[in-house]
């Protein structure tokens, strides 16, 4: 393919991307750009040219070793739902715009730490960008079948790079506030992520099913190649450890790489998008790896020992079969992977460069005294220049240093360097004691180890076996061999560097943090970072600051950077949020934090602090005082929480009370009804007695027989009165639990016989036939005989009373099973209304029937029966038989262990 043709295609492709970015920037709130899928796909900026080409090279040369870089993230991503959410919250409320801001803010908003993190990032990432440029350049030359020119000015790829740098710097920095979302760029990155996966899958399918005959075919053909088995198994333990360290640094990378921090955290619009990302992104990584192996070994089979660069197999294979279309498609996919990484990384780095290095150390002084428009222009311009120069610097590095390294080795080098930020980064999230001194020492020492064990050997050239430094160690000391430091000889160079650098890094971070406590500001931010969930809604409250400052002075500063309108708007919101009088002119801690936050997006955390402190005179606070203030604010939060809990408790309590009250009211009504009925029931016999007595008293001429009748009436009614009183007292005893029952084993048949005997006269009088089949049996049951006689007496009396007047019949049946003995007493009188079957056991059941009186004795008998049976833990119920009559049955449990 001709150079011109390819360049033309590239231009068209970039114009399309530019258009997408432009289009989505305008629709930054539409659901097309602001959705969890765009977010998830934008995270796939992780898959760079290194993935696109380098994995294949790695798989072809050393088998499965390309995998850990994807396994690490896949393993750690499920924790995003907690950790990433936290980081996003911290970032959002503090207006953090980069990893440098994040780490330096946590350790007391330290300018020097921010600068250090920026430098480490540049060290780690610029070679990585160089690697992308190398990929573009290499593949460009393969597709166009040209050779790279040694003179960079005649090499076409130089101009591609310059164009790219211009595009990135123009488009990557439209906003002065770095915490603004860049929907355009993010959407374009997401589209590119989809394209690179699609293009990679196309070439994968092409190789697997068109060049070869499926996975099996490739496997069969590849398995006869030299070293196939050795390359494709995780051999020894040391190999496993190598894998472990590679997984570890890629786990770190997915959090800390500036481009990942930028897409996953700074560009996160909604926390809930994480929920989609935690499945979609790992799925993306898995899909990307499906065809790596077939392409790699397909290439090995096709090209064998021709000594071609295996990184570029995906281009060489279609080219080998003269498929120009596929070749260009693959090239475009790789180009996409490369430029998305370059653009996002350079934006992130340039922001760090300006906010954490240039502004706080350089022109912060000059920014304070000029107009907001000029300020904005200068900041944006500085970032644009930053992006441009970073890309150009990367190109130079590529041309000077890494022409002959594989993509993977440079990529891993980046990962190891970036991993040096991991201890202080994760410490920031979970450990309040971590201090700035510890973080700085850890990063510097860790980086030094990297420098010695990786950067120096790579700069000299690993492949040059003549290098005495690598072979014999510094000054010829065996223990200082960079790839076998202190005799650790069973790890590969990269895992070895990871091990030593992280060991030194973590140990010094921990040791120094524990030995020297940080200043109050560190402690303050530690609290806000670690306990972010507590402070999410009122983080300004958690900021500890003492001193004197005027709101008007600070407002002037804010206006210089933000302009009058935005400043006033922000102030109004702040005053509303904390209910502050707008005429108040004394700035408190909340206002200081609020003002710093407003500036952070523009000039970074460190500069924001410098600018604000130029007008706000801060008093030193001792560490104990900070701890005390923090404790107080924590207590306030806890008290708040407790208040909420208390009020919930109160709510349930008051509900309970309400229910109890309702119950009491019901009981009260029942009691009233009961009393009402009792008095009524008592008055009836008294009325009869009184009437009879009055007649006897007043009428002296009363005939003897009538006199006898009235006297008999008085006796009957007195007895009735007495029985009633007995029953009321009985019932009261059972209800209040005063009545005890004394259980013993008895013969229920005998008890029934005894009861019947006492009622014999009534039975004979009414000529009732009693049918009791098991009369002579011995059926044992456990009960209080006296009480059960009371029950039986009552039931029999009722049965006698209600059985048919002419052919009265009572039938007694006893049934037994394992659980209980049941006694049924049937009479052939009138059936009871079905709706009354339960109610007859209520005391004064007539009371419920208002003024209709039912002929059921005192109205207490069955209620007492029920109480007695219930105290035996048995049941009692009434049934109406279809053939007429009523059956009342009670049960006595056999296992009765009741204490009552």
């Amino acid at each position: 393919m001709s150079s011109l043709g390819l360049l033309l295609i590239l231009v068209v492709y970039v114009v399309i991307l530019f258009y997408i970015a432009h289009w989505s920037e305008k629709r930054s709130h539409s659901k097309w750009t602001n959705n969890p899928y765009i977010y998830s796909f934008s995270l796939a900026v992780y898959c760079t040219a290194w993935t696109y080409y380098g994995s294949i090279g790695m798989a072809a040369k050393s088998g499965l070793d390309y995998l850990p870089i994807y396994l690490g993230p896949i393993i750690i991503i499920p924790t995003w739902i907690i950790i990433l959410k936290r980081i996003i919250r911290i970032t959002r409320i503090n207006k953090i715009t980069s990893i440098a801001d994040f780490i330096s803010l946590r350790y007391g908003n330290s300018r020097s730490l921010g600068a250090l993190v920026t430098l480490i990032s540049i060290f780690g990432i610029v070679p990585y960008i160089a690697l992308q440029l190398k990929a573009i350049s290499d593949t460009y030359h393969i597709v166009t079948k040209t050779q790279p020119h040694s003179n960079i000015f005649t090499d076409n790829t130089t101009y591609i790079c310059i164009a790219l740098a211009l595009f990135a710097s123009y488009y990557g920095n439209k906003y002065v506030d770095a915490s603004e979302k860049r929907r355009g760029i993010v959407t374009a990155i997401a589209i590119e992520s989809i394209l690179k996966l699609v293009f990679f899958s196309i070439i994968g399918i092409y190789v697997t099913y068109f060049v070869f005959d499926g996975f099996d075919d490739i496997y069969t053909k590849a398995s006869v190649l030299e070293d196939f088995n050795k390359k494709n198994t995780i051999g020894s333990l040391s190999n496993g450890i190598n894998w472990f360290f590679l997984c570890l640094i890629s786990m770190f990378a997915i959090f800390i790489l500036p481009r990942q921090f930028h897409t996953a955290i700074v560009e996160n619009n909604q926390e809930k998008h994480i929920r989609t990302a935690i499945w979609l992104f790992p799925l993306y990584l898995l899909l990307f790896n499906v065809f790596v192996f077939p392409i790699a070994w397909g290439g090995n089979i096709l090209f064998g020992s021709q000594g071609l660069n295996s990184d570029t197999y995906s281009l060489l294979i279609p080219q080998h079969f003269n498929n120009n279309f596929l070749t260009v498609i693959v090239f475009l996919g790789g180009f996409s992977a490369a430029i998305s990484m370059i653009i996002v990384s350079s934006i992130a780095l340039a922001t760090m460069l300006s906010n954490n290095l240039l502004i706080p150390y350089g022109f912060i002084g000059s920014l304070k005294n000029i107009s907001p428009e000029k300020n904005t222009k200068r900041i944006v311009l500085s970032r644009k220049i930053g992006i441009f120069s970073l890309i150009i610097l990367a190109y130079i590095i590529y041309r000077v240093f890494i022409l002959d390294y594989t993509l993977v080795s440079i990529g891993l080098l980046s990962f190891v360097i970036i991993a040096q930020l991991a201890p202080s980064f994760f410490g920031a999230l979970f450990w309040k004691r971590g201090s700035k001194k510890g973080a700085v020492t850890g990063i510097i020492l860790g980086f030094s180890v990297c420098f010695y064990t990786l950067l120096v050997p790579y700069a000299i050239g690993t492949t040059k076996s003549s290098s005495t430094f690598v072979q014999e160690g510094a000054w010829g000391i065996e223990l200082l061999k960079p790839f076998q430091l202190f005799g650790l000889d069973y790890l590969d160079p990269i895992p070895q560097a990871v091990f030593w650098s992280l060991l030194v890094n973590i140990l010094s971070y921990l040791a120094i943090s524990v030995s020297f406590s940080g200043n109050y500001r560190e402690r303050n931010y530690a609290e806000m970072f670690v306990d972010i969930d507590k402070y999410i809604n009122n983080h300004e409250n958690a900021y500890v600051w003492k001193g004197t400052a005027n709101i008007s002075d600070i407002t002037k500063i804010l206006e210089r950077f933000l302009g009058t309108e935005r400043t006033q708007r922000a102030l109004t919101i702040f005053n509303l949020k904390y209910n502050i009088d707008k005429n108040n002119n004394i700035a408190d801690a909340r206002f200081i934090k609020f003002a710093e936050n407003l500036l952070t997006g523009h000039i970074g955390t460190a500069s924001a602090k410098i600018v604000i402190s130029s007008v706000a005179k801060e008093d030193k606070i001792s560490l104990p005082e900070v701890l005390r203030i923090l404790e107080e604010s924590k207590e306030n939060i806890i008290i708040n929480k407790m208040l909420v809990e208390n009020s919930n408790e109160l709510k349930t309590l008051s509900e309970k009370l309400q229910r109890a009250n309702q119950e009491l009211i019901n009981k009260d009504i029942q009691k009233d009804e009961f009393l009402d009925t009792v008095t009524h029931e008592l008055r009836t016999p008294i009325t009869a007695i009184r009437a009879a007595t009055e007649i006897l008293h007043d009428d002296e001429n009363i005939p003897t027989e009538v006199r006898q009748k009235f006297l008999q009436n008085i006796i009957t009614e007195s007895d009735r009165l007495n029985r009633l009183i007995d029953k009321i007292l009985d019932l009261e005893k059972f209800e209040t639990g005063k009545q005890k029952i004394y259980l013993s084993k008895n013969n229920i048949c005998q008890t029934i016989n005894n009861t019947l005997e006492s009622l014999q006269q009534l039975i004979v009088n009414k000529k009732i036939k009693v049918d009791f089949e098991t009369k002579t049996f011995e059926i044992k049951a456990i009960y209080d005989e006296e009480r059960i006689i009371q029950v039986l007496n009552n039931l029999f009396s009722n049965a006698i009373k209600f059985s048919s007047e002419t052919e009265g019949k009572i039938k007694i049946t006893i049934t037994e099973n394992n659980d209980f003995t049941a006694v049924s007493i049937h009479n052939n009188g009138k059936a009871i209304n079905p709706e009354d079957l339960e109610a007859i056991f209520d005391k004064f059941y007539q009371a419920r029937n208002q003024n209709i009186k039912k002929p059921i004795g005192s109205g207490l008998g069955l209620a007492i029966c029920k109480k007695i049976i219930e105290h035996h833990k048995g049941k009692i119920w009434a049934e109406s038989s279809e053939s007429g009559g009523t059956t009342i049955t009670f049960t006595l449990p056999n296992y009765n262990t009741s204490e009552t």
Binding site: A691, D698, N851, I852
Partner: protein, 120 residues
């Protein structure tokens, strides 16, 4: 001779009332509940009815309601005689059109006086 209907389900109370009113020259009819009373009233038109409230089948209040619907009993006086002695019971009885509401236990002598007053 004035006719009087006694409606109560308590036989011993009825007995005292019956004896006393007969002795005072009343023609006495007896009913043991509201239904029986209404049956009796189909062919008898007493001058006064003594009515209990709590009775089986049909209570005193409903009995009075039905009595009041019968134009033939327009001049018939009604006395409630009940152990229900709460104010609302009394009010209800009077509002239904009873001439008197006497609570149990009561003085027979007084009752006879009140009956005679009503009928004169």
């Amino acid at each position: 001779m004035k006719k009087i209907l006694i409606v109560d389900d308590e036989p011993n109370i009825v007995m005292s009332l019956e004896y006393t009113f007969k002795k005072n020259n009343f023609e006495v009819f007896i009913a043991r509940d509201g239904q029986e009373a209404l049956d009796t009233l189909k062919h008898q038109h007493p001058d006064l009815i003594i009515l209990d409230v709590m009775m089986p089948m049909v209570d005193g209040y409903s009995t009075l309601e039905q009595i009041k619907q019968n134009p033939e009993l327009e001049n018939c006086k009604v006395i409630f005689l009940s152990a229900k002695n709460k104010e609302q019971d009394i009010e209800k009885g009077l509002s239904l059109g009873a001439n008197l509401y006497i609570t149990k236990p009561f003085s027979i002598k007084k009752l006879v006086e009140q009956v005679q007053n009503l009928l004169n």
